[in-house]
């Protein structure tokens, strides 16, 4: 058995944290090796050490059974290591070809000879069935293609060992399965692949070997065929985890949210929302599935009073809310967990306690006509920190210093403390680790069991399927399908999400056209 990569007793410290604590990772040549663990477990740091972005404080690195020193990505590329980062490193206005050759251009007499590059890359893409339109600009292609470009970039630099950091985070189910086909193809060509992920179903589907990390340590080496998702999850979190959400059936009540014939046209004149009608009833979770960018964000912002729809009606608890500002909508009984917690939901330079009153700061509970009630705010913070287990439990700490999961808990704690009748949760577990996901899911279910109406928007189909009582699918600004329960196969959802299947009832479509005409 030959090892492609051996990381031996690697320790990497940052100012006050130990990101990797005496980690040993051996990756056999020619396999797909999954590196799993929660956020902050040290997976990415370990791989960036291998890629030369960090120097280990202790430990040795061996590549192809030879001890090496990797001072920078330049060294690692020469050793045949390529990395596809979670956030793509591409130049949007340049073509795919230009992006791939960037830094490895053929030059003849001071003049670029991209034709030669192009031929080489074309051959490469044929060999690994990585089809990309070489002359198209990056900004004009989807994330799935961009990812293939990143892989080609690595292969073009003769990578034999490919590291992929959370490669499926931005992909649709179809793109994900295509990616996995590519990875299997690469494996059959003898490449070694290290896959960083925390999605267990993907690990089970595509990997051969698994290394589990927790809190900077290697806590388990597994063979994929001999293990189960629950075993991996338990190793990741350090305690047994319920992967299945327990949910009792419940009879929904009156509508908490009623959207009728909602249209939204953006500044450029594009129709973003087309005649949307939806109801979220008390005591149910309505899940909206869809590929991002199909109008979900705008739908939510319209409901939350952050965007003004062009026409239609939105009723929250029986009151028309179009024309109200965000604060008035909140006061009307809305809690809103926004999709982008850093940009919308939090002020990361303010403390936890200050963030816990955002949007509630004018409530007489927290302020008089002028003054903030500091002792009440402190009390509120310590209560919520305890109830929602926000760590570290320091109310005066800047939110910037929290992990993604704990940042999300700050938002959830604040929004549920409103005790609103309608809860909008948009991508509530994005970037949150398994322990946090379980907690957030239980919280949402508890709210539903408490007769709240919950509108859930998520790009994660598992989440939609396991939490929702009913599922709506959005595609190009329309609700293309409403499933009356969650007994749907993921693949079927996928078909509606990508527009391969639209409303199967033709009459409905005609009616819609009449309405819009």
């Amino acid at each position: 058995m030959k090892y492609a990569v051996e990381l031996l007793n690697i320790t990497k410290r940052f100012a006050r944290t130990v990101a990797n604590d005496n980690v040993t990772l051996r990756v056999e040549s020619g396999v797909i090796h999954a590196l799993v663990g929660e956020n902050g477990a040290g997976k990415t740091t370990l791989m960036e050490t291998l890629y030369g972005l960090y120097q280990p404080d202790e430990g040795k690195i061996r590549v192809n059974e030879r001890e090496v020193r990797i001072r920078s990505p330049y060294d690692s590329i020469r050793l045949g290591i390529g990395m596809v980062h979670q956030h793509f490193m591409l130049v949007p206005p340049l073509s795919i070809l230009e992006n791939i050759v960037l830094g490895a251009e053929h030059v003849r007499n001071c003049i670029l000879d991209l034709k030669r590059n192009k031929d080489e890359i074309y051959e490469l893409s044929q060999r690994f069935s990585l089809k990309v339109p070489l002359d198209e600009k990056i900004e004009n292609v989807g994330v799935g293609v961009q990812q293939r470009v990143e892989i080609l970039k690595a292969l073009y630099r003769k990578a034999d060992i490919l590291i992929l950091d959370e490669p499926t985070a931005v992909l649709t189910p179809k793109e994900t399965s295509e990616l996995f086909d590519i990875l299997r193809q690469l494996r059959s060509e003898g490449k070694t692949i290290i896959l960083i992920t925390h999605k267990l179903n993907e690990v089970m589907e595509v990997s051969d070997r698994i290394t589990v990390m927790r809190k900077g340590k290697n806590v388990g080496e597994l063979k994929t065929n001999d293990t189960s998702p629950s075993e991996i999850a338990q190793l990741m979190v350090g305690r047994p985890v319920l992967l299945q959400v327990d949910k009792t059936s419940k009879q929904p009540g009156k509508p908490a949210l009623k959207i009728s014939n909602l249209n939204f046209v953006d500044k450029r004149g594009l129709k973003i929302l087309k005649n949307i009608s939806l109801e979220v009833r008390h005591g149910e979770i309505l899940g909206i599935a869809g590929v991002e960018g199909n109008g979900q964000s705008q739908l939510i912002e319209c409901v939350a009073g952050l965007l003004t729809p062009s026409s239609g009606s939105i009723e929250i608890n029986g009151v028309e809310t179009i024309g109200l500002n965000a604060r008035q909508v909140f006061e009307n009984g809305l809690a809103h967990v926004p999709e982008d917690r850093i940009k919308r939901g939090l002020v990361i330079d303010l403390s936890i306690k200050e963030n816990l009153i955002l949007g509630l700061h004018t409530n007489p509970r927290f302020s008089s006509w002028l003054k903030l009630k500091r002792s009440v705010i402190d009390q509120n913070a310590s209560n919520l920190i305890e109830k929602y287990d926000i760590r570290p439990a320091q109310p005066n700490l800047q939110v910037r210093g929290l992990s993604g999961g704990n940042q999300q808990k700050v938002i959830i704690a604040r929004e549920l403390s409103r005790d609103a009748e309608l809860i909008i949760a948009s991508q509530p577990t994005r970037g949150v680790d398994i322990g946090g996901i379980e907690f957030i899911h239980r919280t949402l279910i508890a709210a539903r069991d408490n007769d709240k109406g919950v509108l859930l928007v998520s790009a994660d189909l598992n989440e939609i399927l396991s939490l929702s009582d009913r599922i709506a699918v959005m595609f190009e600004g329309e609700i293309v399908k409403l499933f009356p329960n969650n007994q749907v196969r993921e693949s079927e959802l996928g078909l509606y999400m990508t527009g391969s299947m639209r409303k199967n009832d033709n009459r409905t479509e005609n009616e819609d056209q009449e309405v819009s005409a």
């Binding site: 944290t17 990101a19 002020v347 330079d349 003054k371 700490l397």
Partner: protein, 363 residues
């Protein structure tokens, strides 16, 4: 990954160690320039310090120069907290001081307990209006406040210049007639003879009170909370039901009003009239003051003292070195302070890190 509040994140480090290092280093670099003009830096610096800090007259002069800087610095800082870069403190303080003088000359004989608040209000109103204009343009039209405040500086300078030389002037001068004596602010030398000759006056106290009020407003009130949220993350403010445009206008008005109080020092406490060209750079120095003070109201008192000292010190060492050297020194302080957050922070962090690492390895 757990991140604890480290010493490097602490406000003490941010507010004191970094700016102080910057100031010390800039004095070192300034020494090189003094050497270049052929003087002994130790001698020059010792005169600079002894003449400004060594006797009560010097201290009085320094405090007189400090007062307007506090107002200007606060003005910039309030806007900065709201995410706005107020380059217009200069125009705001000119309009404010001018209005103070005009109202003062039109209200002769009004009792002091009405006259003084009235004149302070006139200054705030003048500055506030001059701040409102760019604030409103920003909030309603999205016009950038940097451009508009700069343009308003030109307009205020030209406008006042015209009025002071043609409309409101005492014939053959470029200043207005005197204000009502009941609007005069008490000079410190009227109580403490040691300050004899220096014009430092009650305006300094007004500045300090303003510092406390601004701190209270930003740190303790819900409007201050909204102002900070708007400054740090306008999209989160919108999400939290805070009207971003209202806060933008409000903070520009508050910033302008504070700048407008500069008139209390010069018009009510020193000359008792508005004089063409009384201040050419106070508003711009306010930007440096706010930066060095880390936009903290109390830090602004300290940085105003430093720049007040440099300003008066420039006059003191004028006989030894060219006065331009003091301008150079001021400029070096500003450059170092502006770059300090990035550069010195990194240097100091690295130093501490190395030490820590050694400690860890020794464990």
């Amino acid at each position: 990954m757990k991140i604890k509040k480290s010493a490097l994140e602490s406000s003490f480090f941010q507010n004191f160690v970094v700016p102080l290092t910057a100031v010390l280093l800039s004095f070192l670099v300034g020494a090189i320039f003094i050497l270049i003009v052929g003087k002994n830096p130790i001698e020059v610096y010792s005169v600079l310090f002894s003449q400004t800090l060594g006797n009560s007259y010097g201290i009085g002069q320094l405090l007189f120069k400090t007062t307007p800087l506090i107002f200007a610095g606060l003005s910039v800082a309030v806007c900065f907290k709201a995410g706005l870069f107020n380059i217009g403190a200069q125009g705001q303080l000119q309009i404010g001081a001018f209005l103070t003088a005009i109202v003062g000359m039109k209200t002769l004989g009004v009792p002091f307990y009405i006259e003084i608040p009235l004149l302070l209000f006139a200054g705030m109103a003048g500055g506030g209006i001059w701040g409102f204009i760019p604030g409103y343009l920003k909030a309603k039209l999205g016009a950038h406040e940097v451009i508009n405040t700069i343009m308003l500086n030109f307009i205020s300078t030209a406008l006042i210049s015209y009025l002071v030389t043609n409309v409101f002037n005492v014939p053959a001068t470029v200043h207005t007639p005197p204000i009502s004596p009941t609007g005069h602010l008490l000079r410190f030398d009227q109580i403490f003879p040691a300050f004899e000759g220096s014009p430092v006056n009650l305006s300094l106290l007004i500045a300090v009170v303003t510092v406390v009020l601004v701190w209270y407003y930003i740190d303790r009130t819900k409007y201050g909370y909204e102002l900070k949220v708007v400054g740090l993350n306008p999209r989160a403010a919108e999400y939290g039901g805070i009207s971003v445009s209202r806060q933008v206008v409000l903070s520009m008005v508050i910033g302008g009003a504070i700048a407008g109080l500069v008139g209390s020092n010069f018009v009510m406490g020193y000359k008792y009239y508005y004089e063409e060209g009384f201040s050419t750079d106070t508003g711009f120095m306010g930007i440096a003051v706010a930066l060095l003070g880390n936009n903290n109201p109390f830090g602004i008192i300290l940085s105003s003292l430093l720049f007040g000292m440099l300003e008066y010190g420039g006059l003191v060492i004028n006989t030894m070195v060219p006065k331009e050297l003091v301008s150079i020194l001021q400029a070096i302080v500003i450059i170092f302070v502006i770059s300090s957050n990035k550069i010195f922070r990194r240097i100091i962090v690295n130093l501490i890190k190395k030490k820590k690492l050694l400690m860890v390895q020794n464990d």
